[in-house]
């Protein structure tokens, strides 16, 4: 009887102990929230090293881009504890900082000797700082991204096409350096028969629902002279947003949409652009740089067939590109902030960042991108570097959402639906944005 009792007690203790151990292990698990895309898969691979080093398990909550903002902003607004770490979009920084969703990282950076000077300056401003250009950090630059272009190098290099192009336009068919050149190339390829298939000039962003057409149009508008506000007087937008140069930029974007995009491409964003390029529909393709590793590996259009170029120059020689990408933050509602900070410390490590780049993520650490071997490390590395040097970002204000919705509507109404003029669209945008800032008490 005694031995039976001992056995039962022993078993019970073993079960209790194993449950406790298992609970302890799970208690240390961190959940990282991000968008569901290729870099997220690379991060899963990378994070295995973190678990090996620290014993802290990593769980991931990835949401498709179409629901990414809705899902995670709802989570943050409701003070949810789902995410311990979040890789939030660059525009969220203002709102997340002011509403207390993210942990301020200044003290932690000081303690761990993580210096923002070690990161590409544009990514620090874009992904980490609020207010902008002030030393208040809410995120560690995690995934550098920028809008750039890919093109069909194999089509561009065909002698018969080169000859025809030169005769028609008087310059050699090559990756464009100005928007005029880009449009000429797009027109040249539009509805051309290549290998028995009708192809088109370019895939550009036209999506209405989230942020697509704004990212695309802004990519062009910046280089034409668009400015968000008077540099000397914040929130004064009249004459800047709707300047003559901005109007010309928007007219150019519409002309490009009308002349040179595939049929039905009226709601196209990252996924649709990749599909158009991969299926051999278009000669050129506007998209965020994160798509490049996947396209480079593609059997049909990758390898030697693909080339990359930086967003071209505008009429006055200005050259900018739309910033994408995100920083990684610790969610202030998390119960595991200490472990989450450990992850940030680990992620900021030079070797980890180098591996991050090799796996398909875009490191923002100077030691990685300024390494002499970096430009030749991947065929797209130089285009990424050059693009990151000329970035501009959309409003990162706490009210970025209504600001974005206004530009989505105004741009789509004009560019895709052909309603009104470019001037009307930009005048309307000034009106909408003014209303948003008035509601916020900033004007």
């Amino acid at each position: 009887m005694k031995s039976t009792l001992k056995l039962a007690l022993g078993l019970a203790s073993a079960i209790t102990a194993s449950t406790a151990v298992s609970n302890a292990a799970h208690a240390e698990d961190l959940t990282l929230c991000w968008a569901a895309w290729d870099p997220a898969n690379a991060l899963v691979e990378l994070s295995k090293d973190f678990t090996k080093e620290t014993g802290i398990g990593m769980k991931f909550e990835f949401v498709p881009w179409t629901n990414y903002a809705d899902r995670f902003l709802n989570e943050l607004n409701s003070h949810g504890k789902l995410c311990d770490l979040i890789i939030g979009d660059s525009q969220w920084i203002g709102g997340a900082a002011e509403n207390g969703h993210y942990v301020k990282l200044n003290d932690f950076f000081d303690k761990e000797k993580i210096s923002m000077d070690d990161f590409v300056p544009a990514t620090v401003v874009g992904y980490s700082e609020w207010p902008k250009n002030s030393p208040n950090y809410w995120a560690l630059p995690a995934m550098g991204d920028v809008v750039g272009w890919t093109y069909r190098k194999d089509w561009f290099s065909r002698p018969e096409l080169q000859k025809e192009f030169k005769e028609k336009y008087g310059w050699d068919l090559a990756a464009p350096t100005t928007f005029d050149q880009l449009k000429q190339i797009a027109e040249f390829f539009q509805k051309r028969q290549i290998d028995g298939k009708t192809v088109y000039g370019a895939s550009i962003y036209t999506e209405r629902g989230s942020e697509g057409i704004t990212m695309g149009a802004m990519d062009v508008l910046y280089s034409f002279g668009f400015q968000y506000e008077n540099p000397k007087k914040p929130y004064e937008m009249d004459g800047f947003v709707n300047s003559e140069k901005s109007v010309k930029g928007l007219e150019f974007y519409k002309a490009l949409y009308d002349c040179c995009t595939p049929p039905g491409a009226s709601n196209s964003y990252m996924g649709e652009g990749v599909d158009a390029f991969k299926s051999g529909q278009v000669a050129m393709h506007m998209n965020f740089a994160f798509t490049w590793p996947g396209l480079q590996k593609d059997e049909n259009v990758g390898g030697d067939k693909i080339g990359y170029f930086v967003n071209p120059k505008g009429p006055d020689g200005d050259q900018f590109a739309q910033l994408g990408g995100q920083g990684i933050s610790v969610v202030s509602y998390s119960d595991k902030q200490e472990s989450a900070l450990k992850y940030i410390k680990w992620f900021a490590n030079k070797d980890v960042q180098a591996k991050w780049w090799s796996l398909g993520g875009y490191s923002c650490l100077n030691s990685v991108v300024k390494d002499p071997k970096f430009p030749s490390s991947q065929p797209y590395a130089q285009a990424f570097l050059d693009s990151m040097a000329i970035v501009k970002d959309f409003w990162a204000e706490p009210s970025y959402a209504p600001l974005l919705q206004a530009s989505q509507k105004r741009f789509h109404d004009y560019v895709v639906a052909g309603q009104g003029s470019a001037k009307d669209a930009l005048d309307g945008l000034v009106k909408d944005w003014t209303q948003v800032f008035q509601d916020d008490g900033k004007m």
Binding site: N77, N99, P263, G264, S266, N267, P402, Q419
Partner: protein, 315 residues
Amino acid sequence: MLNRTADNAARATPEPLAKTIRGISDKGLAWLFISPTILLLLAINIFPLFWAIYLSFTNFRANRPNEVVKNLGLSNYRRILGDQDIWIAMQTTAHFVFWTILLQTVIGFTLAWLIDRKFRGHAFWTTIILVPMMLSPAVVGNFWRFLYEPQIGLFSYVISFVTGIPPTNVQMLSNVELAPWAIIIVDTWMWTPYVMLICLAGLRSIPEYIYEAAEVDRASNWRQFWSITLPMALPFIMLAVLFRGIENFKMFDMVNLLTGGGPGSTTEVASITLKRQAFESWRTGYSSAFAIILFVAVFGLANIYVKALNKVKQR
């Protein structure tokens, strides 16, 4: 014998349950059973309604819960009623409601009338016609998006075959003129069977002897249709119009899946505008006011309509 049976039945009938529970009357017991449902209804229907009414007078934003909520009075309502974009969205909604109801009623009633002839295989065809209605709107939306695809879509090829226009020029979802019709076609395809079912119920409820009497009076088929079929089926048709009208006033899923409100704002119906304001721009107070306006509009119109329907039924 009869008395004994009655006695047995009386004995078999249980005493009112309330009598077995001390202190609770039959009425009390009824309330006890109903109260969970009432509480649930209050929690998920009535409370949110009053909460939305309250929010509609404020500047509350769900993405800024820590901000001080200010009372704006009627300011949100004034802004909505003075906003040209809102009125355009309302016009777009009215356009959809009008055309979808008209097409669905005409086609639905015609189909019901044909099915009611009870031709050979009518049960099979009824089932086939009902299939679109049984599908999920998400499936239907994606399915039609592929059909409308100008480069690979079957719809574009059929139109091209009939008209001779190149298929890549048939851009149903990208073209400002065609996009609203693209949605009307899909909604009509999906929901006409629903109207057909209601109309069929109406047609089957007409007593056969009325037609027999009309036959005796030598009334023509056309006369029978105008004087018997249509008037007697009218309350059912009106009921179908009411249901579809309310549903289409709130139309969201189909538009969202097919065009997302585009191109531009061509197909941006009121529900899409409401969603953008509430869950993309996070203007919670403002969108609550808009929701209340929509609710009042639908409720008011439906009430007027129901009164008309009752008059028709009484005739």
